[in-house]
């Protein structure tokens, strides 16, 4: 069986009438798609991943890329993807790796939820003329306030609130580590979140010294490899997040190949240069919920109970019960990462088949916490495939306090979702440590793009809230009455606790 040459994924062609032989395509493509022979650019289409770097850099718009130029005999079951995965696996005998989020053709629940607006009986609120409050506090809140009324009518508050994280907007950037992505990418995002008064995660990669100026807007992560964790790191973060699992690959650990561990990454992660950084599937000091409780407690003690501690889990079938267990620890927020969450590299079978949609997970967790009367004990942060302001608004209406974006922030910096992050050659300077590539990403330029995106979403969320007659985010949170399901089945609508359109 000769399985060396499956059909090409992309066909690259150059219009010779437009090409001026500037060779920018050759310079820019780290995958070796282009070379020059005499007065002609020669293309090796098989190397192309459709990252569009050449397209973006070509001054003459001479390059076009066509996806799947060669048809297989069509078959509804034995799709192109199914066949190619077999060729690939038959050749290598290994687990197939894939990048970015779930690539199966499952319908998005967000797309089948529609938002409400006011007409006649209640006026819409114009955010340009009226206050619109998106400020969000993440952390434990008391179930009730104890008030003491003095003899002279003075009111004294007896309850002390635990420290909460104050977000100007309910949008944060999730954890993508230095190592998985470049320092320039982290710097851009850090500057954006500190400009907007929100937060980003460090990922399990430590905190590089050049990020310290943004540390008040950074959430440090403690994951199963404990890379980069020491007391200095914990104290620098605005909050601490324990990562149990990740939506793109629930139930398994992580692996940063040694090639990416250069001197800087090595120092930040506190591991030897060129060594693989392997995060085990479980935390080996957490084999049960009470062990998690102890780790939360230890981190709180280490930081003198001054910092909120979050726990991130992948959205799996039993997510609601797990979250209610987490709520009973000292943890301040549970991060739920849905099955569309992105990653640099995950086994394809996990990425595409394990976990549940974030929409259902938010609904189930919020409902479980409320039915047990412990919703105030913990904030809900939702992540995994949030694409736009409508997704954010719907996630909050389902019950989330705030959301994390990941891929969307990378796209703002140029990422074309080519899904080839795991090769470490990201032509946009994002998912790579190669200085020739990382210097393509200028933090002085890209921070503004990330900030623009989040600011634009904020404006849109304000408009959506105003149209729904709501002027504070608290009144959107869990307000499922303002959602309707369109072409969702009844069982799904029961889980989401939303009515169908027209009802």
């Amino acid at each position: 069986m000769s399985i060396g040459s499956v059909p090409i994924k992309f066909r690259v062609s150059i219009d010779p009438n437009r090409c001026m032989l500037c060779e920018r395509c050759i310079e820019n493509c780290p995958y070796g798609t282009y070379r020059r022979e005499d007065e002609k650019i020669i293309v090796d289409s098989r190397s192309c991943v459709a990252c569009h770097r050449c397209v973006a850099m070509c001054p003459r718009d001479a390059i076009s890329i066509e996806e799947k130029p060669i048809d297989y005999r069509s078959h509804p079951l034995w799709t192109r993807e199914a066949r190619e995965a077999i060729y690939n696996q038959a050749r290598t005998g290994r687990i197939v790796l894939a990048g970015m989020g779930n690539a199966t053709d499952l319908p998005s629940i967000f797309d089948r939820l529609l938002l409400d607006a006011c007409q006649v009986t209640n006026p819409s609120i114009d955010p340009l003329r009226e206050p619109m409050e998106l400020r969000t506090y993440l952390g434990k809140k008391p179930r009730k306030l104890e008030i003491k009324k003095g003899r002279d009518g003075d009111i004294e508050l007896k309850t002390t609130l635990s420290p909460n994280l104050k977000l100007n907007i309910p949008i944060m950037i999730g954890h993508m580590s230095y190592g998985a992505i470049s320092l320039n990418a982290q710097l851009s995002m850090a500057r954006a979140v500190s400009h907007l008064g929100t937060f980003m995660g460090t990922g399990e990669g430590g905190l590089h010294p050049s990020l310290r100026e943004y540390q008040n807007n950074m959430i440090v992560q403690v994951a199963s490899g404990r890379f980069g964790v020491d007391i200095d790191y914990l104290e620098r973060g605005a909050a601490i997040e324990i990562k149990i699992g990740q939506g793109a690959k629930p139930g398994i650990g992580g692996h940063l190949p040694g090639e990416k561990v250069g001197p800087e990454v090595s120092q930040t992660r506190m591991i030897p240069e060129k060594s693989d950084a392997i995060s085990p599937a479980p935390h080996h000091d957490i084999y049960s919920i009470e062990d998690l409780k102890q780790l939360v407690h230890s981190l709180k003690e280490a930081t003198e109970w001054k910092k909120p501690v979050f726990v991130k889990i992948a959205a799996v079938h039993n997510v609601a019960a797990i979250a209610s267990g987490i709520a009973r620890s000292s943890a301040d927020a549970v991060v739920i990462d849905g099955f569309r969450g992105g990653t640099g590299a995950a086994p394809r079978v996990f990425r595409d088949h394990v976990g549940i949609p974030i929409e259902a997970a938010i609904a189930a967790v919020d409902q479980k916490l409320r039915s047990q009367g412990i919703r105030n004990e913990i904030s809900i942060i939702a992540s995994g495939g949030i694409r736009d302001s409508a997704d954010v608004t719907k996630a909050i209406a389902l019950g989330a306090d705030a959301i994390y974006i990941g891929t969307a922030a990378l796209i703002a910096m140029g990422c074309r979702v080519c899904g080839t992050c795991y090769r470490g050659l990201c032509p946009w300077g994002i998912a790579t440590q190669d200085t020739k590539l990382t210097r393509r990403l200028d933090p002085d330029v890209e921070w503004q793009h990330v900030a623009n995106l989040m600011h634009g979403w904020t404006l849109e969320i304000s408009e959506l809230m105003g149209a729904a007659g709501i002027n504070s985010i608290e009144s959107l949170r869990g307000n499922r009455d303002r959602l309707r399901g369109y072409m969702l089945d009844e069982a799904m609508m029961n889980v989401l606790d939303v009515k169908p359109v027209g009802a």
């Binding site: 506090y137 007659g469 709501i470 002027n471 949170r477 303002r482």
Partner: protein, 350 residues
């Protein structure tokens, strides 16, 4: 639309219902003739120790037997009767209004610090959700709600509200949108001592409902107003917040304003917003809430519905329209427009 008016006499002197009927009728432009109602405090002095349960029965056969049975198993019915009514030409009688004077057996709710109230709350929720054809719409001590589908005059005359004397009156003229003009949907809404009248729409209803239901309350009347009564019960009675702080939770100051406050106020107001964010009410509304101790009126945070207050001697009036207040009392000492979110509080003198 909807029109509301309320009055309290701080010396607890009784007022019969004739004047408030005229005041409410003046605001007929705000209603549609599909719902009106009155609540009065202090009207059952002879039964002041008993919970006055007002119910609508669809018939007096199955639903009433079931209600009798459940009440007898949880306490003692001192007295019961059909609420006296007089047929009105423009009011179609679709339910039979009934009242029980009931004393719950405290020993049946061990472990509760407020066993009587908890039993009554539980019974109201249970009857309203499980007994078809029966609806408890009033459940306080020495308090009664009288409501039906019809114009304010017709409803008042149907129940002969001029025969009752109360020191607090609430009245509501309804223009229904959320639910058709069924009797249960008319205001005031009541639970225990709490009665609520409301003009507007609560756009945060979904959030408020999810919040209140997680404390065991059940919304049964298909309208946003009932959550206000339950929220008052939770924050005011169970959590013990003073009225002004309860209203602060419902219609809190904006963060910009809180940020400018001195430290103690900043801490208190932030704590209220963080703790009671789900109780924040959004959307256009003007609301008057009453308890046995007084009334409090407030609007949403940007005052999208009218609310005006006035005083004359011991009496404090809160209404949608000044004209309605003047219909009750032409000689007012003071008339003012409360600011958005700012409560107007009238307490009985101790």
């Amino acid at each position: 639309m909807c029109g509301i008016i309320s009055v309290i006499d701080r010396s607890k002197a009784g007022m019969d219902g004739s004047r408030i009927k005229h005041a409410l009728s003046l605001m007929d432009e705000r209603g549609s003739g599909e719902g009106a109602g009155y609540a009065a405090y202090g009207i059952y002095p002879d039964y002041a120790e008993y919970y006055a349960l007002h119910l609508f029965f669809n018939n007096l056969v199955e639903p009433k037997d079931k209600v009798d049975e459940i009440l007898r198993s949880w306490g003692e019915i001192e007295c019961e009767e059909e609420i006296p009514t007089i047929e009105q030409p423009d009011l179609r009688r679709t339910h039979i209004p009934w009242r029980y004077f009931f004393k719950p057996d405290r020993t049946l709710m061990p472990g509760s610090t407020t066993p009587e109230e908890d039993i009554i709350t539980m019974l109201v929720m249970k009857i309203n959700t499980t007994i078809q054809g029966a609806l408890v719409f009033s459940s306080g001590k020495n308090i009664g709600v009288f409501k039906a589908s019809g114009w304010p005059e017709a409803v008042a005359d149907f129940y002969q509200i001029d025969q009752y004397e109360g020191y607090i009156w609430l009245a509501h003229n309804r223009y229904p949108t959320n639910t058709s003009g069924w009797w249960g949907g008319a205001h005031p809404f009541n639970l225990l001592d709490w009665s609520v009248i409301h003009n507007g729409e609560i756009t945060s209803y979904g959030t408020n409902r999810r919040y209140i239901e997680s404390y065991g309350y059940k919304c049964t009347m298909f309208t946003d107003t009932e959550v206000v009564a339950y929220l008052c019960d939770l924050l005011g009675r169970k959590h013990g917040l003073p009225e002004e702080l309860m209203v602060r939770a419902f219609a809190p100051p904006f963060w910009d304003e809180i940020d400018r406050m001195k430290e103690a106020d900043y801490t208190l107001n932030s704590a209220i917003r963080l703790t009671y964010g789900s109780a924040l009410m959004n959307g256009p509304f003007a609301i008057v809430v009453a308890t046995t101790d007084g009334i409090v009126g407030f609007t949403d945070r940007i005052k999208l519905r009218p609310l005006i207050a006035a005083e004359a001697g011991d009496r404090l009036y809160i209404s949608s329209e000044e004209a309605a207040i003047r219909r009750m009392e032409p000689n007012l000492d003071r008339v003012w427009m409360p600011k958005a979110g700012e409560p107007v509080i009238g307490r009985v003198r101790p």
